[in-house]
């Protein structure tokens, strides 16, 4: 069930110049993929096109088998009338409660699970938000800066946990951290400034599955390729 985008062009209704044009790429297998690039080049817009939140665009998009596509981002909030744990219990299906407890532990939220959302730090808020998305029924999850404000070590733990727990699902991770996407992602769609052609370049990532899994030379080469592509 690949995701295929063919010559995608998108222009905001109020503007004349396209945000991006002729973007083509394929995600042919499940795993952790990434959209990477500077701000304002269209990563979030493309993500919203994929999830169906934006309908006016040109080009073709095929998502055979990717029935449920969710978009999560780092500005989301949980309602403040109950504790985070109570909220997670309510929105996560009963069959997934064991996984919820496991993720709460791994994501480092055990100590603050009874707190209200606004009492959490920004990193904790993003982790709590991510847990509720991960345990829904979906085929493709887009994580738009979903681990912002989380420290590097915890981010690595979270990404490796996600990859281990959901090996047959598609992830698109939008991030500005070149090192992170180079290490953990299978493929990286690098967005370039819209003065450059082609506007996106697909780079193969290291796709590591545990902390010590990659040779420094390979990682350096990937990182260099990503940075040169921008």
């Amino acid at each position: 069930m690949p995701l295929i985008c063919d010559n995608m062009t998108f222009t905001y209704p109020e503007t004349e110049n396209p945000l991006f044009s002729d973007v083509s790429f394929q995600l042919t297998r499940p795993g952790f993929h990434s959209f990477f690039g500077p701000s304002g080049v269209g990563k979030t817009s493309l993500a919203k096109i994929i999830t169906g939140a934006i309908e006016r665009y040109s080009g073709g998009i095929s998502m055979e088998g990717l029935r449920t596509r969710l978009y999560s981002h780092n500005k989301e909030r949980l309602p403040g009338w109950s504790g985070v744990g109570h909220h997670l219990t309510r929105v996560i299906p009963p069959s997934m409660q064991a996984e919820k407890d496991k993720l709460v532990e791994i994501f480092g939220l055990s100590d603050c699970i009874k707190s209200r959302f606004e009492q959490l730090s920004m990193g904790q808020q993003n982790r709590a938000n991510l847990i509720r998305y991960l345990l829904q029924d979906w085929d493709l999850l887009i994580m738009d800066e979903s681990l912002a404000n989380v420290d590097e070590r915890t981010r690595a733990t979270i990404i490796l946990t996600i990859k281990a727990m959901f090996p047959n699902r598609y992830f698109i991770y939008i991030s500005h951290n070149a090192m992170e996407v180079s290490r953990f992602c299978d493929s990286i769609l690098v967005f370039r400034n819209n003065s450059k052609t082609p506007q996106t370049v697909m780079v193969r990532g290291c796709n590591i599955c545990d902390e010590e899994d990659v040779a420094h030379e390979v990682l350096d080469a990937t990182l260099l390729e990503v940075m040169n592509a921008v």
């Binding site: 969710l70 909030r77 309602p79 009338w81 929105v91």
Partner: protein
């Protein structure tokens, strides 16, 4: 909060009385035009009981009228929040009708329903209903995207949840609007009583006006002010208690 509101009212009232006294003695006005402080005190002693009961009578109508109008505003506001034809119709109708002075309709109500309790209640409710409705409409029509997004994309959003989120996020604003509408409800009741009712402090003011007895009017104003100050403070305390219970802070 209760003490602060009452204290603020005392300051304003006594500044007002001081201004009147200044006017009286600067212009050499007689006690018939502006009564002396001793005359006002005697009137207070003489009319205190009767005027207090009249104020409580008015306050009862005010509270019931406000409760009715807040319930109506929420029902109509929640119904009209959607971007449907019916929702747009309710919004446009609410904006247009609220532009019309409700007090001007009061004589019609007195002619149709007489000068009893129901007419006063209707006028009070109508006067404070539209400002509350417009606020409720504004609050429940405006999406809280960063909270609602999850429920929408996962198909969990229900209208009850949508309303709950929006009210929760705007609780302070709603409390302020409802507290402020108490003054409108009181004003509506008094105006209604002043026009044609047979009870309440507005009715007493009308009699005092016919008797050209400014002391009675000033005593009535004092009782009205102190009552509404206490009522508003109680509403504010209620709002704080609800907010504390709901938000945990």
């Amino acid at each position: 909060m209760l003490y602060r509101r009452v204290f603020q009212f005392f300051i304003i009232y006594f500044l007002f009385i001081s201004g009147l006294m200044l006017l009286k003695y600067c212009l050499g006005l007689s006690d018939y035009v502006i009564p002396a402080l001793s005359g006002m005190f005697q009137t207070l002693i003489a009319e205190y009981s009767q005027y207090s009961f009249a104020t409580l009578n008015t306050m009862t109508v005010t509270v019931i009228g406000q409760v009715v109008s807040v319930i109506m505003a929420f029902v109509i506001g929640i119904t009209g929040r959607q971007s449907t034809w019916f929702g747009s119709f309710i919004k446009v109708a609410a904006y247009n009708i609220q532009a019309y002075p409700i007090v001007a309709l009061a004589p019609i109500l007195f002619i149709l329903l007489g000068d009893g309790f129901l007419t006063r209640l209707l006028i009070a409710a109508m006067i404070c209903y539209f400002p509350v409705l417009l606020s409720v409409l504004g609050i429940v029509s405006k999406p809280v995207e960063d909270i609602e997004h999850f429920y929408r994309v996962t198909g969990r959003m229900r209208w009850q949840l949508e309303v709950k989120i929006r009210i929760f996020e705007n609780l302070s604003q709603l409390t302020t609007v409802i507290t402020g509408s108490a003054t409108l409800a009181m004003a509506g009741t008094i105006v209604g009583e002043f026009i044609a009712a047979d009870a309440g402090i507005g009715y007493r003011i009308r009699i005092a006006l016919y008797q050209s007895d400014l002391a009675k009017v000033l005593i009535a104003l004092f009782l009205i002010g102190i009552t509404i100050a206490v009522y508003q403070a109680l509403l504010e305390l209620l709002g704080i208690a609800i907010k504390r219970a709901w938000t945990g802070r």
